[in-house]
Symmetry: C3
Subunit: 318 residues, 3 copies
Amino acid sequence: MKKFTSVSDVENLQEIIKKALQIKADPLTETGKGKGKTIGLVFLNSSLRTRLSSQIAAQNLGLNVLTLNAAQEAWNLEFADGAVMNGDTVEHIKDAIEVLNQYCDIIAVRCFAGMKSKEDDVNESILSQFEKHAKVPVISLESATRHPLQSLADCITITENWKKDHKPKVVLTWAPHIKPIAHAVGNSFAEWMQEMDVELVIANPEGYDLDKKFTKDVKVIHDQDEALKDADFIYVKNWSSFDDYAAMPEVKGDWMLTNEKLAGTNDAKVMHCLPVRRNVELSDEVMDGHNSIIYQQAKNRIFSAQAVFSGILDELKA
Amino acid sequence: MKKFTSVSDVENLQEIIKKALQIKADPLTETGKGKGKTIGLVFLNSSLRTRLSSQIAAQNLGLNVLTLNAAQEAWNLEFADGAVMNGDTVEHIKDAIEVLNQYCDIIAVRCFAGMKSKEDDVNESILSQFEKHAKVPVISLESATRHPLQSLADCITITENWKKDHKPKVVLTWAPHIKPIAHAVGNSFAEWMQEMDVELVIANPEGYDLDKKFTKDVKVIHDQDEALKDADFIYVKNWSSFDDYAAMPEVKGDWMLTNEKLAGTNDAKVMHCLPVRRNVELSDEVMDGHNSIIYQQAKNRIFSAQAVFSGILDELKA
Amino acid sequence: MKKFTSVSDVENLQEIIKKALQIKADPLTETGKGKGKTIGLVFLNSSLRTRLSSQIAAQNLGLNVLTLNAAQEAWNLEFADGAVMNGDTVEHIKDAIEVLNQYCDIIAVRCFAGMKSKEDDVNESILSQFEKHAKVPVISLESATRHPLQSLADCITITENWKKDHKPKVVLTWAPHIKPIAHAVGNSFAEWMQEMDVELVIANPEGYDLDKKFTKDVKVIHDQDEALKDADFIYVKNWSSFDDYAAMPEVKGDWMLTNEKLAGTNDAKVMHCLPVRRNVELSDEVMDGHNSIIYQQAKNRIFSAQAVFSGILDELKA
């Protein structure tokens, strides 16, 4: 694997899921593989699961880890090419990346959507700079439009929880929130599920359709109850409007996932990337009930990261 | 040891002090004991000694360490059960703990008293969530009402400094401060000293008596000079009112510890958990004088933590 | 090496440059040298290169690393001797240092000039406390008046880039900025270059002469074009006025380094310590052009740090 910023960087999805499950069975199986190599984990945004699971994965492989909270620990970054830096920004992102090139064998970066300029976010204004200037493999720890390490963990989790011989029905359902949230998790889940042997349906209110670039021909239903019918897996996630970028058009009905709504499903497993706003996105009873596989998803973040880091190390040694 | 949040988690205090002193003599004696295990150090508050000594102790045992500055690096936490999370909080503490369960073999947490609600603090509103939801051993790095790793270090330090064959007189004395400070160190020291072979006396102004739950039958004297008489050890610490919670009732006289006040003691050793406000809690001359064993206390934080981590690892392997 | 806070701590500059280049050729050559030893990296200010390169260097030597973002993670520090600490400061720097003495075998600290009191900065009000109170070797990660790990990296970089048999002409040139910047990098470069076999010239506008303590008899020219003529190396750096401390007297002409200005040089290599304000201090074309050896300088920060840490470890074992 030369880099990992979207599903298209994965040559064989079933193979990497299998690899991740082998790692889960024995996390220390490749303990010396990263010896003498350094991964830089650069955080431009908050992180709990990604931060800790990446550190554990790196440690399991024997990689040296450099963690940088860029804004708080280093310098205020400039992102515009050609900028005359006579304002608040102290270091250009491309210089920071060139320095990371000198210090790291792998660069992993978290850079959320700014939710201010649709163009900047759609064009991955920050991740694209890493892809352009990095001379070592780049791993996305969530970018403006995708969260691939999460999506791989989601694929692992569905694989673990589906032993039947027919295709599961997987519903990605929009959930309420109190402020404009990025599309990365929704986009990414849609993209990865299209590579899995599942029947994917997306449920969201009118005005909240995701970017067609990611959802392609996936069926989008604007009635949540209809969409959830006979679901085997439900992925709960909020996002703001894509068309009217970052807006929150009025929503009819209550989209919070409750046990009542689960009743119409095929005893569906409930998933969420976390953090989750309880009793807003889903109810306490769902979160704490037997249908939730949400903490299992969180655990699988370790093995998702470790399978990816391992694949990148194969490339470095090749 | 199944957990470590108060003295009652210690089966045999003299044994663990002895163990800590053995570790001090040879810190790398159990260097492979933590191999393949991960301790999560979660800081909801500032820390210097606890942060560094815990990291050193973990490293000496070969434990992997994950350090998380929760507020700055992760998400704003919700603590109320059943909360409708439509405000500023992004992740419920119980979900964060469940995720830590997936990532860590031991969870250590620092969660100070909020000093706003007596009920919340007395009930350990945060630590209790860890004790309830953690599926791995929990270690307190100071909570609302106790600071047990500090108290164990205090026991070690007194043991090192007392070679005579009679009981030492130990005085826990209140000291001035400029704002309302929590009771954790005072409570905890009182609690642990009652398990030691010492004569404990507490000196504080009227209105500043600690919670009887911790002080029990210990003699409380409201006259500092009287209390300090013939003292062998003096533990200096400020706390606010417990009865009129977090208030700072007017204090008669000057309670700052000075050399003049040491004159009436039995050349007492002076202790403080640090950080200390010089020339407010105690004078420069005391801090820098030959009676102070304060830096030795700070050093013993390493061996206190290491003895506890080691005891927890015994349990994990059992 | 007993400590490392200025060039005067280096016994033989050519030897340490040679050592650093050997390390660069094989960074893991002394991988067990720091085993069982702990270095504390204390940051009172922002850092990217220093933070990461120090961590890598320490890791390459097998040193344990404790990193402390003092202001954010620990306590607000008091620096005044004898202070009555009844204000915002919670811990005296000398107590923090005494605690670090207990926890670390080497203390490295970053403490920028405050740029408010000339006297405080000239007297190294913070670093001097470390030099006074530390009982273990102290390493400067940049202080009020010097940045020696940077300067050593600069010496390494010039050595790598100069294979001719005559003395290179090295020009330290002032560059524009938007706010008052400290003198540490300029002072330090001047000081170290006087120990190298080069012809050093300093170019800066009138009113911007550096402290004579560092520049001594080095030629200072107030006309940038004249200074740059036939230069082999150009070191670009801003600093504020030293005489009228931290002021920014009006500057005639444009001092930003451009390709046009490079035309009059001996195809000079361009250096900068980073972070750099593009199109203010130097143009994009210079930064991204073939004359720049700026990223190579950044990389050499690893080997500069590692050579110094290694030298300090020799002392610890002696």
